[in-house]
């Protein structure tokens, strides 16, 4: 790139991050409310995730700021859910063994990076077919039907591939092996 090409104004990126957060806020709160079933807490977590997005953008460029924002928010919510499970003594239920590894107030930026590394590694354990289905669905936003048509599969087969692949990635984060 030519050195004479105009650089964007220094606060253009900061402005863009602020706008991304503002534009996503409603959706983020709705998502967190579904996760936590608590509107006040959903707003608090969305705010905290926004602060961390802004702080992280100050340190380095974020390639996927929206995914980063939702990921940080999700990890904050996972923290709260774990605490709630302890508080409510739900933990005795026993059919979902939590992988743990989340200290209260853990460094969520490091956690996000570690999650990305674990998911990358887990991707390599998937069959090529499962991996293609997963990428088509989750990255390119295709429906089950579209993927079924393009890969010449039954929609139900696509759903099963996706379910197993996502569960496998989820297990990589929860620190557990898929049964």
């Amino acid at each position: 790139m030519s050195s004479t090409s105009p650089r964007p104004a220094p606060d253009a990126d900061a402005q863009a991050i602020a706008e991304l957060y503002a534009n996503c806020y409603g959706e983020l709160v709705a998502y967190l409310r579904r996760l936590c079933a608590d509107h006040g807490q959903a707003e608090d977590l969305a705010q905290e995730a926004g602060m961390r997005l802004i702080a992280q953008a100050r340190r380095e460029a974020i390639a996927k700021p929206r995914a980063f924002l939702f990921h940080v928010a999700t990890n904050l919510a996972r923290d709260q859910l774990r605490r709630r499970m302890v508080s409510d003594a739900y933990a005795g239920d026993g059919d979902y063994e939590d992988g743990g590894g989340f200290a209260p107030g853990a460094d969520h930026i490091a956690t996000v990076q570690e999650d990305v590394a674990r998911v990358s590694a887990a991707l390599n354990t998937l069959t090529p077919r499962a991996r293609d289905v997963l990428v088509l669905a989750r990255i390119h936003g295709h429906t089950q039907k579209e993927i079924a048509d393009r890969l010449n599969l039954q929609p139900k087969t696509v759903e099963n591939h996706l379910t197993r692949a996502l569960a496998q990635l989820g297990a990589a984060l929860a620190g557990r092996r898929r049964q």
Partner: protein, 316 residues
């Protein structure tokens, strides 16, 4: 929609994501997902694990590579993916982050005896006659026994006028720091970096994790950092105007004043340009109307305010 009970919880959670691929859930599906989540906290956690995996997936290198299966041109990527590609340039603008995270207040509130919401300090007379003033966004546990009086500061800041009772010392604990008094008035402020104890009347004995007690007299304060655990003693600088609903500052750096106001606002405050952080401020601001206080402060310092959801930028 019925979930297959023989699937693991992670698989059940993953199936919801599989169904929602490339489309929104129908109203019926959405309701049944909500009722599945409501069945058990472990369902929520499993669902959140899958969400985290899906967001992590978007950030992997693999997500940026073309897929191997030969396909006709896929639908154009979602808007945020395009947005993400445009956001490559490093940020030059330096922000001042004024205060640390507000982590888990609701969880702390459940474990407290008395807590305050943001912007709603309160004053409470305890059973022994001591008057406890709890500042904005703070939480304490209180235990009064025949031998001693214990207050644990879980979060935030308190001031206490201790009722005299030589046989029953009053301890305020903040993490590893213990401040002990018989009859006096002092302030304990638990921040992200450590605990500050300021004495307005009487004598307070402060003991940090190292176990070595330090006696503070009126007009003195001590700060114990979370990292070092060392006790630094100095002249009383923090004022207790907050107990009267006012923030009076003289030649205080803008960043510190904003950090004080940040405690009272549901919004978080961000100073957009760090070069303004040291700007000296002399002002008296109403803490019972922190929005007005922030506007007045911005005006005084000739900066402007920009609001995005629950975050206020102070900028040129």
């Amino acid at each position: 929609m019925a979930m297959n009970p023989t699937e693991s919880l992670l698989q059940q959670a993953a199936r919801w994501h599989a169904i929602a691929s490339g489309r929104d859930l129908s109203a019926d599906e959405s309701r049944s997902l909500d009722s599945w989540l409501a069945q058990n906290a472990s369902h929520r956690l499993a669902y959140a694990d899958i969400c985290a995996a899906a967001f992590a997936l978007e950030q992997t290198q693999a997500a940026a590579e073309p897929i191997r299966a030969a396909l006709p041109t896929a639908r154009s990527p979602r808007p945020w993916l395009r947005w993400g590609l445009a956001a490559g340039a490093p940020l030059l603008l330096v922000f001042a982050l004024l205060a640390g995270p507000r982590v888990g207040p609701s969880w702390q509130n459940w474990n407290s005896d008395l807590y305050t919401e943001i912007g709603k300090p309160l004053s409470q007379k305890l059973a022994d006659g001591s008057v406890l003033e709890l500042d904005t966004d703070s939480a304490v546990r209180v235990r009064l026994s025949p031998e001693r009086r214990d207050i644990e500061l879980i979060r935030g800041r308190l001031a206490i006028a201790v009722a005299k009772d030589p046989n029953r010392p009053l301890h305020v604990r903040s993490g590893d720091v213990d401040a002990m008094a018989v009859g006096t008035r002092f302030v304990v402020d638990r921040g992200d970096l450590g605990t500050e104890v300021g004495v307005h009347e009487g004598i307070v004995r402060v003991t940090a994790a190292d176990g070595k007690p330090v006696d503070l007299g009126a007009g003195q304060q001590a700060f114990v950092g979370n990292d070092s655990g060392a006790t630094r003693v100095g002249a009383l600088a923090s004022n207790d105007g907050w107990t009267r609903g006012m923030l009076s500052v003289e030649q205080m750096p803008l960043a510190k004043v904003l950090a004080e106001l940040d405690r009272y606002l549901p919004e978080r405050i961000i100073l957009a340009d760090e070069t303004h952080a040291a700007m000296p401020i002399t002002a008296t601001l109403p803490l019972d109307d922190p929005d007005a206080a922030l506007r007045a402060l911005a005006q005084t310092s000739q900066l402007s305010l920009r609001h995005i959801p629950r975050i206020a930028y102070v900028m040129r």
